[in-house]
C-alpha cells in the first residue's frame, strides 16, 4: 500500500527526528506527530547537564521553532495522548476523543523512569528527572538545598551529583550495586569516574539497601519535606533533596494492548517493523536485532539510537530499503569537568586495556581479541577515532593494545 498518512506516536527525540527525516527524504503525504507533553518537541540531555546548572529558558531546549512544523507540514498534536490502536481499522484513538486514521504508524513512545515504592516516597523534595518540568522543579529546589542524596549511580544521577557538588551541596550517591554505572561501563572506567566525583567531595555508598525516606521529625507523612534516606543497617543519609535515578522502563503498553509483541520494549525486526507490517517502533521503546555487543537483540536509550533509528526508518519508508549498515552505538555523559564518551557496546567479560589518568582516561574493551568498545574521559578525538575504527573493524587487536598500540588517532590516520 502506498504511504499517504503517516502517524507518529510520541513527539520526543525519535518522533521528531523521523518527522523531519521524512520531509528531507521528499515524502509528500501527511505527517501527524502526537505527543502527550505540552509544547514543542525538545532535547532531553541538557536537562541533567547545562540546563540544570544554568539559567537558560525552556525554549533553548526546542529542536526547532513552531515555524519549522508549519513550513514542513508536520501536524503536531500536543498535548495529546494516544489511548488505543485499532489495527484492523488502521486508526488510533486519542484522549481528546479524536480518531486518527493511518497507513503507517510509528511508535516512538520512549521510556519512563522507574520509581521507588518504599515508605516516605511521597515526601516533598524527592525528584525524578525526565521532562523539562522535572528539570525546572529540580533546578529551583537546588537553589535552596544544602545536601543532596542521589539514588542510583547511573548517568543521570551522576550528572546531577556533579552539578549539585559544584553548587556546594554535600552530595551522597547511593547504589544497590557494588560500583558506579555497573551496567554500562567497565570497572576501570567506573573507578576513574568515582575518583573524580570523590575529589569534588561527593561520597559513595555501594551495596546500599534503601528502606525509606523520613522527614525532620522522623515521620513520613505526605507533604512533609524529606530530611534523610534510611538504610537497612539503620544508618541514615542526611539530605534535603533526593534525586531518584534508577533507570527507565519502555512505554510498551499501547503495543501490548493491540497484540504486538513486547519484551523489554516493542519487538521489531532489523527494519524497525513490528509483526504488523503497518506498524514500526523506534527509539527508547523499541527492542530490535543488533550486530553490536553481546546479545543478538537489544533496546538502547540514547540520542544516537533515537536519531539513527529515525533516519534509517525514514529511508525504509520512502525507498523500501536502507543502505547504511547497523550503526555503531555511542553515548556521552557530562559530569562536571568530565566528559565521558562511549563508542561501541561492551559486556561483562570483555578483556580490557586501560591508559591515561583519571582526568584523561581510556579503557578499550575487546572480545575475541577484537576492539568492540572504547570508553574515554576528556579524549574527544580518541572517541571519534574509536567510532570509525570499531565501525570498520580495523581497531588495534588486544595483543597490539597490550603491547602499547593505544594511539587510536594515529591508527585511524594510518588506516
Amino acid at each position: 500500500m502506498t504511504l499517504n498518512r503517516l502517524v507518529i506516536l510520541g513527539a520526543g527525540h525519535a518522533g521528531f527526528a523521523l518527522a523531519a527525516a521524512m520531509r528531507q527524504a521528499g515524502y509528500g503525504g501527511s505527517v501527524t506527530l502526537v505527543g502527550d507533553e505540552p509544547g514543542l518537541p525538545y532535547n532531553r540531555p541538557p536537562l541533567s547537564k547545562a540546563y540544570l546548572g544554568g539559567t537558560d529558558h525552556e525554549e533553548t531546549l526546542h529542536f526547532r521553532p513552531a515555524r519549522f512544523f508549519e513550513e514542513n507540514r508536520i501536524t503536531l498534536l500536543a498535548p495529546e495522548r494516544a489511548l488505543r490502536i485499532d489495527r484492523e481499522a488502521f486508526k488510533v484513538e486519542l484522549a481528546s476523543g479524536r480518531s486518527l486514521p493511518y497507513d503507517n504508524l510509528v511508535l516512538a513512545l520512549g521510556a519512563r523512569n522507574r520509581s521507588l515504592a518504599i515508605p516516605g516516597s511521597e515526601l516533598t523534595g524527592i525528584f525524578s528527572l525526565r521532562s523539562a518540568p522535572d528539570a525546572a522543579g529540580l533546578r529551583a529546589a537546588l537553589a535552596g538545598a544544602r545536601s543532596a542524596a542521589v539514588i542510583g549511580a547511573g548517568f543521570v544521577g551522576l550528572e546531577f551529583a556533579a552539578t549539585a557538588a559544584a553548587r556546594g551541596l554535600a552530595v551522597t550517591v547511593l547504589d544497590a550495586a557494588p560500583r558506579a554505572m555497573s551496567r554500562v561501563v567497565s570497572p576501570e572506567t567506573a573507578a576513574a569516574i568515582q575518583r573524580c566525583h570523590e575529589s569534588l567531595g561527593t561520597r559513595f555508598v555501594f551495596n546500599a539497601q534503601i528502606t525509606g525516606f523520613k522527614a525532620r521529625d522522623g515521620t513520613a507523612s505526605p507533604g512533609d519535606r524529606v530530611n534523610a534516606v534510611r538504610l537497612a543497617d539503620d544508618t541514615a543519609v542526611q539530605a534535603d533533596l533526593v534525586l531518584v535515578g534508577i533507570g527507565a522502563a519502555p512505554n510498551g503498553e499501547l503495543a501490548e494492548a493491540c497484540g504486538l509483541e513486547v519484551s523489554n520494549g516493542i519487538v521489531v525486526d532489523n527494519g524497525y517493523r513490528t509483526r504488523d507490517p503497518a506498524i514500526s517502533a523506534i527509539g527508547d521503546c523499541a527492542h530490535g536485532p543488533t550486530t553490536h555487543g553481546h546479545a543478538r537483540s537489544h533496546r538502547l536509550e540514547s540520542v544516537q539510537n533515537a536519531n539513527d533509528s529515525a533516519r534509517r526508518l525514514a529511508q525504509i519508508l520512502t525507498t523500501g530499503a536502507c543502505d547504511a549498515g547497523d550503526p555503531i552505538p555511542w553515548f556521552w555523559s557530562d559530569q562536571g569537568k568530565m566528559k565521558l564518551q562511549i563508542a561501541g557496546l561492551g559486556g561483562p567479560n570483555d578483556a580490557t586495556v586501560t591508559t591515561g589518568s583519571n582526568a584523561d582516561h581510556m579503557t578499550m574493551r575487546f572480545r575475541g581479541g577484537r576492539l568492540i568498545c572504547v570508553e574515554t574521559i576528556n579524549r574527544a578525538g580518541d572517541h571519534m577515532a574509536a567510532r570509525r575504527l570499531i565501525a570498520s573493524g580495523i581497531g588495534p587487536s588486544l595483543a597490539e593494545a597490550q603491547a602499547g598500540a593505544c594511539d587510536l588517532k594515529a591508527a585511524l590516520k594510518a588506516a
Partner: protein
Amino acid sequence: MPRIIFVEADGSEHSVEVEAGTSLMQAGVANDVKGIVGECGGSCMCATCHVVIDSALAADLPPISDDEEEMLEFGTAERFEGSRLGCQILVTEALEGLKVKVPG
C-alpha cells in the same frame, strides 16, 4: 541585540537578531537555519553544529578548546579554515554583523 547572518550551503542568507549569551548553534536552530542540527544539545559531542567563520573575525571569537579542536579534527566531514562548532561560541555585542557559513 547583535545581528548574525547565517549563510546556508545553497547560499541563502538569514539575517537574525540574537540575544547575547545565546550560542550560534541555538540561534541557528531557533531560526531554522538548514544544516545546523545540534544533535547533542551543545555538549561538543556531535559536530552537527559545524559552521565556518570568516577568519578575519576569528580574533573576536572565544579560543578553540581542546575538546572542540579534537571534534573539528576527527568529527567533521571536512575541516575548513575558520571551522568552528556553533555550540561553543556565545554571541556577544562584539559579533554584530558576523557572517556564519554552514558547510554543505
